[in-house]
């Protein structure tokens, strides 16, 4: 088993140039934007003299390459630098926001699975039947409704009218967080599940018609046992990659959701940093998101390998 996972170190090594590339692209892009932290901080009451003094103080007058290499140098020492806006270590806010977003994504993923697996199963057992039609309408609606709109509608219905869940926020006590994240996670799950349902439905239909299911049936298998062990396990494989790719998109989607639900995660942090031109914070968040996408990619392959003994990335990489 373990030898099939030996592709991981190579994959991690190949991630290094990707991450480096991301830092360069993000660094150049944020510096291409007009305006800098000194302008953003001083606002309309700034004068050219005050801006120049603040730029000097923030080290923004150094050549761009020097700024980049000092960022990279610090990074290699595990130091993300200080926020240009409040002069506090970026790691402080980053490590505060990171678990919030990760919890949101994980919660959304679990909910998306809870919605998708039964619905895909229901749809696939009687293709083109009434239940299948119902599920397909749901997927169409789910894909068609913008996330922020779904979010606001859920708030109006569930929070303001029924008062079952809070209107945004993350809760002050640790025990509150899951309760506060329920609606935003559900919003993300609603937008994520149509893609999963479609993929899972198609592969389940294919799986149900396959020889090995017929064989299992002839040997007396049936019901949920057949569905979970034979159908779902095989049907899930293409869906795993769909989820992997979607998780990357979901990080982007969480920016909107975090704003609508006032969640202090990476999306909110990124947005605030961009408006304030807080270069060091933008770079660190972008770097973390890049790492996250890479890790999700590797994890997808790991799950793939574990689910399907025929898949062997290690041998492919050696070839």
């Amino acid at each position: 088993m373990l030898h099939r996972l030996s592709f991981i170190p190579g994959r991690l090594l190949r991630a290094v140039p990707v991450v480096l590339g991301v830092t360069i692209v993000v660094f150049l892009m944020v510096h291409l934007l007009p305006g800098d932290p000194a302008v953003a901080i001083l606002g309309d009451k700034g004068t050219p003299q005050r801006i120049a003094a603040l730029r000097e103080q923030l080290g923004l007058n150094q050549p761009l390459w020097l700024q980049y290499f000092s960022f990279l140098g610090r990074l290699l020492h595990g130091d993300l630098g200080n926020s240009l806006v409040n002069q506090r270590p970026v790691s402080e806010v980053l490590f505060q926001a990171m678990p919030v977003t990760l919890a949101l994504l994980l919660f959304a993923l679990v909910m998306a699975m809870l919605i998708s697996i039964p619905l895909a199963g229901i749809a696939a057992t009687r293709p083109n039947g009434a239940r299948d039609l119902g599920v397909r309408i749901f997927t169409l609606l789910g894909q068609g409704m913008p996330q922020f709109w779904v979010g606001i509608m859920l708030i109006l219905l569930v929070s303001v009218n029924l008062r079952l869940f809070p209107v945004g926020g993350y809760g002050l006590a640790d025990s509150d967080h899951l309760y506060y994240l329920f609606l935003p996670a559900l919003t993300l799950a609603i937008s994520m599940s149509p893609t999963i349902i479609r993929s899972l439905r198609a592969s389940t239909i294919a799986s149900l018609g396959s020889d090995y299911v017929a064989t299992a049936r002839s040997k007396g298998s049936g019901g949920s046992g057949l569905f979970i062990h034979h159908v779902l396990r095989n049907a899930a494989i293409p869906t795993i990659s769909v989820i992997g790719v979607n998780l990357g998109y979901l990080v982007g989607g969480s920016i909107v959701i975090e704003r609508v639900f006032a969640i202090p995660g990476l999306g909110s942090l990124m947005l605030t940093a961009i408006f304030a031109r807080d270069f060091t914070t933008i770079q660190s968040v972008a770097l973390f998101i890049a790492l996250f996408v890479i890790v999700v990619g590797i994890l997808t392959d790991v799950i793939y390998t574990l689910l399907d003994p025929r898949v062997n990335f290690s041998s492919k990489e050696r070839a």
Binding site: V39, A40, R50, E92, V160, A262, S268, L269
Partner: protein, 521 residues
């Protein structure tokens, strides 16, 4: 001249003008009272952004940070509720020398910092000196007229000026001149501002950046029996819809920036009260005189006459505001409600254009902030109105920071801008807007009228309020005639609170005095 009065009136201007602004909307512009004050409770305030830094000497000390800090740090003087004058706060009065160059200020007796230390003259000198040092990167520019602060005795300081300077008490009331312990109470500045210590009604609690900032009651506050609340929690809720829903859902007590579009629906929501407090905000179009053809006064006047300000107030502020007639906004001392600023008159606009260097019209552009719905509406209305007199105006949208950069470097033909005051004296604004030597080329417009410059200088050094009023009246008239800005409208500050919140009042200078606020069950 002894002026040991509890209230020092810096101006004799009638407040009627101010009351015209905004009071007609919302149930009240005075402190909201709900039943009997009840002690205790946590006041939750939902804001669109988090504070950045409590470091009152840094440039990052912006509005969201100041709003929090003013509950911790207090100054020698404070702004009165109407925003028109200051009154002694940590000072017990003041004496002005006959040459107007020295102000001797006795301190209020028995005031302690929240760390238990008694406030002394040494603390006052340290606090003001630290602020003055930050002229280039912080708020210290406000102390430009101060020569030195001297400790007279333990309970008295003397502030000496470089030249007679009428706004000095207003300057001393600024948040950056809040009194903190001498030498940061033995801490480094960074350590101190991590958990600042002052004399205010609340003390530093906890800050989870991007989530919430909590202040707790100062049990030894010098105003006996206050504050009434146990704590204040500022939460970050960027989306205005979510803030509104949180207020309606009872999850927050105050939405501190409801948008005008939802103001009316909030007003009719059960359990919610809305306020339109008079402000010092003026929205205007800055016109760059280094770009053709704006050095021509007739062109500028043509634009000023072409704008229907009442229509803007209706469309953008949903009726909550008033057309602007003067450079000085109504919440500021010496505002002249009769200032003859240009008003909507298409015939006059066409006549001015006919007299100008471009009688057949011209093409120009206006800079606005992308994503700002109000600015978008104003620009579109202006576009149509200018088209009617033969001026083609393109709308250029930039993201807020890029727009600030373009604004600061005068890279615009016209620029949709706004201003709010920090001190209860018009000088901060008149100097910024009209003085070409103040470092920003007259609010980046390159406006330079020697007559206005002379009036502005004269007003700075004249300490008699009655005489200052005459000078500022003249200044308002001349700047209006010059049409160097196109004044648009004055908008009040919108706030919405739960109906269980009492004693809530916001001054035109955005001072809050949360020690007076209470909640009912």
């Amino acid at each position: 001249m002894n002026k040991n009065n509890p209230t020092i009136f810096l101006g004799l201007v009638a407040i009627t003008g101010m009351l015209l602004t905004g009071c007609s909307t919302g149930p009240g512009s005075s402190a909201a009272s709900v039943g009997t004050p009840v002690a205790g409770g946590d006041l939750k305030i939902a804001r669109s952004s988090d504070a950045i830094s409590m470091d009152s000497t840094s440039a990052s000390f912006e509005n969201y940070s100041i709003e929090v800090y003013q509950n911790i740090g207090e100054s020698l003087f404070t702004v009165t509720d109407d925003g028109k004058s200051v009154k002694p706060w940590l000072a017990s009065g003041y004496t002005e020398s006959s040459d107007h160059l020295t102000y001797t200020i006795p301190l209020r007796k028995g005031v302690k910092f929240s760390n238990g230390q008694l406030v002394t003259a040494k603390d006052v000198k340290f606090s003001i000196d630290q602020d003055t040092k930050t002229a280039d990167t912080g708020w210290g520019f406000i102390n430009a007229a101060i020569d030195k602060v001297t400790v007279v005795d333990d309970a008295t300081v003397a502030v000496s000026l470089k030249y007679p300077w009428a706004p000095i008490l207003a300057d001393l009331s600024l948040f950056s001149n809040a009194i903190i312990p001498d030498n940061y109470g033995g801490k480094t500045p960074a350590q101190f501002f991590d958990a600042p210590v002052g004399t205010g009604p609340f003390i530093w609690g906890e800050w989870k950046k991007g989530q919430y900032l909590k202040l707790v009651k100062n049990p030894d506050y010098w105003q006996k029996g206050k504050p009434l609340l146990n704590s204040v929690t500022y939460t970050v809720v960027p989306d205005s819809n979510t803030r509104k829903l949180q207020l309606q859902g009872g999850q927050t007590d105050i939405d501190n920036t409801p948008d005008w579009a939802s103001f009316a629906s909030l007003k009719s929501s059960p359990g919610v009260k809305v306020f339109a407090f008079p402000s010092t905000q003026i929205d205007y179009v800055a016109i760059n005189q280094h770009r053709a053809p704006f050095s021509d006064i007739h062109i500028r006047r043509a634009i000023a006459y072409a704008i229907d300000r009442k229509a803007l107030v209706k469309a953008v502020l949903f009726g909550n505001g008033s057309p602007a007639n003067s450079l000085i906004p109504p919440g500021t001392p010496f505002y002249d409600k009769n200032a003859p600023g240009p008003t909507y008159d298409v015939a006059k606009a066409k006549a001015e254009l006919a007299m100008s260097s471009r009688p057949n019209g011209f093409s120009t552009s206006i800079l606005i902030r992308a994503g700002d719905a109000n600015q978008g509406s104003v620009a579109q209305i202006m576009q149509a109105e200018l088209k009617a007199i033969g001026i083609t105006m393109e709308i250029k949208q930039l993201d807020p920071t890029a727009a600030k950069k373009a604004s600061l470097t005068s890279e615009f033909d016209m620029n949709l801008s706004a201003w709010t005051m920090d001190i209860p004296d018009p000088d901060e604004w008149t100097t910024f807007a009209t003085d070409p030597t103040s470092g920003n080329n007259s609010a980046f417009t390159f406006y330079n009228n020697p007559a206005v410059n002379a009036l502005n200088k004269k007003a700075q050094q004249e300490t008699d309020p009655a005489k200052r009023e005459v000078i500022y009246k003249e200044l308002q008239k001349t700047t209006g005639d010059d049409a160097f800005f196109t004044y648009l409208y004055y908008s009040p500050y919108a706030f919405a609170t739960s109906d269980k919140v009492g004693g809530y009042h916001v001054s035109p200078l955005l001072t809050f005095h949360l020690e007076n606020v209470y909640k009912t069950k």
